[in-house]
Symmetry: D2
Amino acid sequence: MTDFSSVAMMRQNTLRRVLREILLRGPISRAELARITGVSKPTMSEVFRELEEDGWVQVSGRRQGKVGRSAMVYSVAPQRALVFGADVGGTKIRAALVDMTGEIVAETVVATEPSGGDFVVAQIADLADDLAREADVGRSRILAGTIGLPGAFDAATGRLMMVPNIEGLEGSAIRDRLEARLGFSVSIGNDVNMAAKGEQWRGAGAGLSSFAFIALGTGIGMGVINENRILSGARGAAGEIATLPVGADPYDSRTFRSGALETAVGSAAIKDRYEALGGERDLDVRRIIDRLSEDDHRAARVLDEVARCVGAAILAVCAVVDPARVILGGSIGSRQEVLSRVRMAVAGCMPAPPSITISQLGSRAGLLGTLAEGSENLWNELFEADGDSGLVRQRAGGEAGEVA
Amino acid sequence: MTDFSSVAMMRQNTLRRVLREILLRGPISRAELARITGVSKPTMSEVFRELEEDGWVQVSGRRQGKVGRSAMVYSVAPQRALVFGADVGGTKIRAALVDMTGEIVAETVVATEPSGGDFVVAQIADLADDLAREADVGRSRILAGTIGLPGAFDAATGRLMMVPNIEGLEGSAIRDRLEARLGFSVSIGNDVNMAAKGEQWRGAGAGLSSFAFIALGTGIGMGVINENRILSGARGAAGEIATLPVGADPYDSRTFRSGALETAVGSAAIKDRYEALGGERDLDVRRIIDRLSEDDHRAARVLDEVARCVGAAILAVCAVVDPARVILGGSIGSRQEVLSRVRMAVAGCMPAPPSITISQLGSRAGLLGTLAEGSENLWNELFEADGDSGLVRQRAGGEAGEVA
Amino acid sequence: MTDFSSVAMMRQNTLRRVLREILLRGPISRAELARITGVSKPTMSEVFRELEEDGWVQVSGRRQGKVGRSAMVYSVAPQRALVFGADVGGTKIRAALVDMTGEIVAETVVATEPSGGDFVVAQIADLADDLAREADVGRSRILAGTIGLPGAFDAATGRLMMVPNIEGLEGSAIRDRLEARLGFSVSIGNDVNMAAKGEQWRGAGAGLSSFAFIALGTGIGMGVINENRILSGARGAAGEIATLPVGADPYDSRTFRSGALETAVGSAAIKDRYEALGGERDLDVRRIIDRLSEDDHRAARVLDEVARCVGAAILAVCAVVDPARVILGGSIGSRQEVLSRVRMAVAGCMPAPPSITISQLGSRAGLLGTLAEGSENLWNELFEADGDSGLVRQRAGGEAGEVA
Amino acid sequence: MTDFSSVAMMRQNTLRRVLREILLRGPISRAELARITGVSKPTMSEVFRELEEDGWVQVSGRRQGKVGRSAMVYSVAPQRALVFGADVGGTKIRAALVDMTGEIVAETVVATEPSGGDFVVAQIADLADDLAREADVGRSRILAGTIGLPGAFDAATGRLMMVPNIEGLEGSAIRDRLEARLGFSVSIGNDVNMAAKGEQWRGAGAGLSSFAFIALGTGIGMGVINENRILSGARGAAGEIATLPVGADPYDSRTFRSGALETAVGSAAIKDRYEALGGERDLDVRRIIDRLSEDDHRAARVLDEVARCVGAAILAVCAVVDPARVILGGSIGSRQEVLSRVRMAVAGCMPAPPSITISQLGSRAGLLGTLAEGSENLWNELFEADGDSGLVRQRAGGEAGEVA
């Protein structure tokens, strides 16, 4: 490392330290910043010049000091850096932009391109453009993004596996394709893991360092937050609980590929069960659950059965990862009628059951998780990484030198 | 923070940085150290004076330089800091001391004090003394220790729960009791988690960041290493897979407290099964497994059944945490006859099974895990923690100032 | 066959026909009998002489005829032929004598000889003597008997197999031993089959030609009446439903000999379940069931589980033998609390469940069955058999000639 | 009853007795018959005149007597009375005529009328006509018939219930409809019961009084012969083992109507299992079993699973009816590959398994059973019934008087 670059690095590090403190403590005066960071007055002036010039910092008011003088206080310009998040499902894509203070500045939901593959990749890129327009910010202000997708993203191979309901993504180097189109750094997350992350950020997992989020809808999946980190597993397949040995014999050939639990719960299973009892055919699952309020004994029985399967699955999850809480989500899991039954079932198989609640974010959980994840990634890029950061990468050529 | 302390802190930080580099790169010369750390020559002299005076560093030889001059090279004095580890089981305690280079300098195994509680605590303290004597090092050189215990250690409450086979430890603030007796900082780990840690350090988990260690003996338990960290769970009960819904209906009252899987596998279950088939009574489990080689069809059937239960348990574990490998340990799990059957069972319920192997460390796995864990703790205390470290705590009064 | 014996046979046959009609239609006059049987007046006189002389028939009154004359009417002397029945259980023996009109003339209950084997055989013989004394009839008037025993009586080999709770009877030629001691013809029946027979005779099976009686107490067993006959099976083991594949995996080694259903229900299972839930230890099963009225949720859960097992067993029984009704008996099966739960369970697994009721005879069902069975045997011996009958065998030497 | 009819009855009874003996003992001379029956010479002459005139008896040869004279010997004319049998399946009808000696004189197989109901009834009637023509006997010589049908024939209501695969027969008073079209007395039997009967008559059940025949093909069903009688149950549904609690939880809503065992075995289940393991799609079950010889591990696994279910079903059947043997039939059950696996499975769940063999009659078992059943019915009508018999009914007006 040359002396020159080492000086540049030092300046950049100082610049980061100051920016970090403004973000964490702002509005704040220069004097306070100097005291905290130990940065000398002249350097601080230089730093502020750069930060203001580059749009990171803005004056946010004036504060009366102790000795009668008032001081200007500064904040980070919230929209200087935006994070893009998208939760891509088989039928819908939810996408949003969040600013540096965590405020969502634009949000949308569209139908997923049925052609899958590159069409979906293109669709995601268009959404980023649309949202920037909607929020009235420059597209280049989007510095990072996270995309939630069904399936297991194997970080080692960079490939998405086990994608159940979007064509043309299985085995794909999806992250590279997305970064190429979006022009900012992208991370990929499993959709249910993202929902767990979302619940931790602003939902039923707030304040918890270890909990599980179980999504029960068309199928069943789980995201686990363990010591504040998403549990991914060796191949990104942690939480794929469709195969849990619950509800059927795991050695029965019929569940070998589909998964024992998956065949026992979820929309298709609920409809099958209801019809097998002689219930009305082709009824929507939502409607079957609604019938509980009409004292439909078939619906009650079906839900009891599903709840017992989910209860045993929760038992298995607790045996392996010991979460402080289990949050139920998904179109079926979010129903109060399901929650009460699952709680009863769990009480029947666990002497010391965990707290069980319903998702607070509903269908937006996954999206909020991508925003939280993307924001964390950006923070790490800006403030934790050594040396050359994404912040610098963003800015082309000579400019980078100025910032650093 | 006063200026004085801030200077002391800077000196201490410098001292740490130098020591860290000697440990990581030694034998190394002062010149090389200065180049790497950017520490000036006078400061380096001062640092070396302190490190040598305090016994951390020793001359380990002389190296021929490029320009004909030879330079002295330095290493860390391995036994300046020792770590104590003990794996406390219902019948035996294994204990050892490991030095800073990872070499075990003394090791022993004794019968567990049957009276339990304080007797076991005292026994552990005596073991530390004995080992120090045996290694011929000062007792005060033991700077940290880790104790592996059956049960779940809830870090939040500091209490040990669910202790199956040692009296007087359930609900105990065991860490405080041990630190009071041992005089150095102690961490507590679940015995099976420690075994997993041991396998990662020097066994079948070497090089793996995510894997599961399943101990099958009297009972069944699991330790998971996930992204290089022990998976503990919210209450320290992660991996308590005795309750997995496998081998019996989890809603059956008879498995409500004992756990479905626990009643289906383990020594008692194997004996029950063997006798229920009309096999010889009161036969030791080891002997029952031995009989496989005598074409005992009852033994074969019993082992097949147990393997199917273990196989379904592995399926459940993979569904939740997706390990890259499953290592079988414990008196039963370590048997080749069991491994081959479990592999066959897993192939029958998982289309893409994980690698499954046997523990390489056998009954020493847990002990080695405590040594690894203790060494990591010490490293963190010495080199990662901010400000006042255990290293400093170790040294009383004015001495601390000298080191820092 | 000589002419002489053929005439004797004809006379005996005539005698039987007349006796049969008196038994079925009495009180009845000689004239009516002559009209019905076509027996000539002189032969009828001869027949009556013999029947009266031998004590079979007695004048029971006088009836006003159509044309003013009154006629004597005759009935069978009820106590001319008695039938002995005994229901032999592990702890108690119930025994009784029944006369030709079906009236029980003496009945007793004693503790089973704990020494088993010949001691029990002798005890049964003593009971026959005691009952005859109590009823004040000649011991020789007991012409037949039926003994109900636990286990399967294999008529082909004449041996009693699978005797769970009386020593010294397994594999025994029990019928020969009993006939040798009792001095009259004896038939052996399974105790639960006898209870089914008793319920058909005078209990909840009255008027039904096909039903099942399930005894649930210490263990579980079943007697089936099919087209008015006891279903025995090829080796007398029909109804041994302890082995039904219900409540546990029938391929699990632990149920290989004991039977899956047997391990899931019955007194021991109920106690195990109750205690496994944390219920009071060493509580009598009767008391556990009583606790339902005290809102003991553990007792409720245990009974629900047992009822589900019994319900699935009833499903299996219906699939195989299609009974019109299932009668629950035994100390546990007779409880109203169990009945209501079993009905609910059955409704959950059978779209068209059979009628399910409780035994009307309680602990006397088996005894009454032996009396019914013995009476039928005697009837067949007297009136259905060709040639030399037990009736004739009873009467020694020359007398036989007289009767015939 | 008038004197006249009573004389007629006596003559008819005599005629029957003689005919019975000729049938049982023929060829036989008049003198021998007289000796056996005690019928006087003149009466015997009269009886022979009538029997010959009516075609029942024919001279079958001449036998050398003891004292030099030869005597004519008589036999029953085999085709004087024929019995019609038909085994009606969802796709095929097998039908045949059997004569009085048990010889099948005509047999055919046709596709079942797909329109069902009355079309099938008409088709059966046509088959009787066709077979009579083929055998070259008068249609009026068919005196009785038995029709085997899928479903449960409730003798009490005269209705056929639970007919799985022929339209328009459910709930039908099928016997009345058939008798109206066929013009002779008809009995209805369940097709699998008939197969059991057939196996007892001329197959793997010959000589056994108690055994079970399990048909495993599209679905699963059972016929039990108990003490030489078909076990029918209260509503004709005995042996409907599709609902046995084997292979799935009987309380699972999905098996509530279809039956747990039915969903686990049979053609559809085998195909499902094979495909779920990744096997070739839309393969015929016969072909899947064939693949065992090509070491197809998927086929082997599927068959093992099916065999375990069948094995547990056999366990249940033995627990309830204790058969001496279990005969496997049906397109799947008749396969040697299935037999060997079922035997192995049964050895794994029963310490004392029954003998298990394969059907000897294959797809003709049911037909042969109807012929045996019809022949028995005819025998009873001719020789066991009191008073007015079908034999008499057959012969119109004055003729009847002459015979009687």
